[in-house]
Symmetry: C2
Subunit: 153 residues, 2 copies
């Protein structure tokens, strides 16, 4: 390989995109990596932690709800829930009196685990947030949302 630049030296003159996609991917990968490392010490994967966080905030979410909330398929979420149940961190009824959606809830152990892990994850967010210039966070969040909307249409 030629130098220490890990890869991307810019193309000649590409204006259309400053490659937002590439940078999004990069920061996502860095975030994922940091969270993976931090959560490993709490015996949680990123999807597992995401589910716990969502369930803490909105108890009773269904598998399909959690799939949407964590941006994976229903099937993947199902596997995650099975793992969480196996670990005794959530409860899930086998039937329900109305509908098919099975409401999921955190167990006390699940709440404890979440609280233990949350600090590590929040510290990572804190690092990100503090790194960007004062007052620019609102615009950044707004732009991320705007791009999401533009892509979903």
């Amino acid at each position: 390989m030629e130098e220490r630049s890990p890869v991307p030296a810019p193309h000649p003159a590409r204006d259309v995109t400053e490659h937002v996609g590439y940078r999004l991917k990069r920061v996502s990968a860095a975030l994922r990596n940091a969270m993976d490392k931090a959560l490993r010490e709490h015996d949680l994967t990123v999807p597992q932690y995401s589910c716990l966080e969502l369930l803490d905030e909105r108890p009773g979410l269904s598998n399909a709800d959690l799939a949407r909330g964590t941006f994976v398929t229903r099937q993947s979420a199902n596997v995650v829930l099975r793992g969480l149940k196996e670990a005794g961190l959530i409860t899930r009824p086998l039937t329900t009196d109305h509908g098919r959606a099975l409401p999921t809830h955190l167990t006390p152990a699940g709440e404890r685990r979440l609280r233990a892990a949350r600090g590590a994850v929040y510290a990572i967010e804190e690092r990100m947030i503090r790194s960007i210039p004062e007052g620019r966070l609102p615009a950044l969040l707004a732009d991320l949302d705007t791009m999401t909307d533009a892509l979903d249409e």
Copy 2:
């Protein structure tokens, strides 16, 4: 919904969906989805396309280089390269006179495929870019990079 504080307090968000991590994940998922759909028509996966783009820009990259450039492990990149080779889109020597790194190159078919697919991908980036307010793109890109740096340290 709660007002947005102009000051980036440590943890102003009550809701995980307010977190920057969540929004990054969301926009990444949306982008990934859009690219998947667009590339499917060209018989390419996102990692495959990413490799082709990198190889077009910097011919002769090694498997490890491409792994870093696409933010996956060497092993994953190896699988992708095998697929691309199978499809006749790249060439890779079996040995080299110096070192272990095997320089990869696009075949003419690979270049054609890349050119065919590139338009669809650029259109997606264009949608993202056009959606954000005039003049805010540079700051957005800078903030993404800044966060990446903050996470990598």
